[in-house]
Every structure is written in C-alpha cells, then in structure tokens.
Subunit: 65 residues, 2 copies
DNA sequence: ATAAAATGTAATATATATGTTGCAAAAAGT
DNA sequence: ACTTTTTGCAACATATATATTACATTTTAT
C-alpha cells in the first residue's frame, strides 16, 4: 500500500523526492518506490527518513490495524 | 548496537528466540542477529515482530539521539 | 553432575532491496 | 505554449537480508 504519510511529511518540508534522497543518502528511485509502496525498506533507511523529516517511526511507518 | 528493548519485550512475553521466530515466520537466527544488532531488518519484519510482542515500532526500534 | 533447552556462530545459497542509467510522462513555473 | 522540475518506469548490476544446516557454547532444569 502507498505510504501517504511519508509523502505528506516530505511535501510539508518542501522537499522533492530527489532532495530527500540526497539528505538520506539514497537514490531518488528508492524514495519513490517506498512512497508508492513497492519496496520494503530497511530499518536503518526508515530511521534515516524519519530523522530527515523530524518524525518518528510510528509517525511515518506504523499503521494501526 | 544491540537491541535490548526487543530482547526485554520478548522475555517479558516468555518467548524464546525460536518461538518468536516461528510466530513471525522467520528463522531463529534472524531474530538472534537482530537482537545482537548484526542485522538491519526490513520494515515488514520489524512490524511483524512488534505485532507479535504487542508493541509499536517506536517501542522497539526507535532511539532518541 | 547431568541432561535439555536456548543461544551464538559459521558456511553456503537465494531472494530482494538498492544503485545506476536512461527515457517518458506529468506537474509546476514563466 | 514553452521550459524546467518532478515523478514514474524499465533493465541490468550489486550488496545484503534471510534461509538452511550444522555444530559449539551457554543457560536452565532435574
């Protein structure tokens, strides 16, 4: 499923996928694929994204069932 | 770094690494390596572990810097 | 002290996250 | 309308998470 919370947090910070990717140290495609729900990212990458966007894991990657 | 919070949550539920592994659908070694900090697990695996232990991502995998 | 259970560790194999390059489509700016 | 930026998508290459098997070590139970 798409990660809409991630995309919202990113645009809220006025960052493009490419800018976020550069900050996190990953490729633009990787960010895009995570947002579109086609990748199962590693924990360290999730943490890196969270720190770049000033959020926590629960904020961006946790879904109550 | 070792994930002591994960280990504590597991023993609190009175589960061995092998039992947790079976619940989550992963090998015993994988659980051991995550607890000892030698693996960078995938997000879906982290979520699976959290649900098995009735915790959230922040509870088990987030560290304030 | 002994046996059983739990955990650590290592080798090899496989699946998949991620990188790279390139191009197309869409969105935004002028 | 046109240009620029952003995003989507595909093919191929690489790194690494994870599985499997096996054995050693530690911990727990009797």
């Amino acid at each position: 499923m798409k990660n809409i919370k991630l995309k919202l947090a990113r645009v809220e910070k006025d960052l493009s996928q490419e800018e976020l990717a550069k900050i996190v140290g990953v490729s633009r495609q990787t960010i895009g694929l995570i947002e579109s729900g086609k990748y199962n990212p590693s924990l360290s990458l999730c943490v890196g994204i969270c720190k770049a966007l000033s959020r926590t894991l629960d904020d961006l990657f946790w879904e109550e069932d």
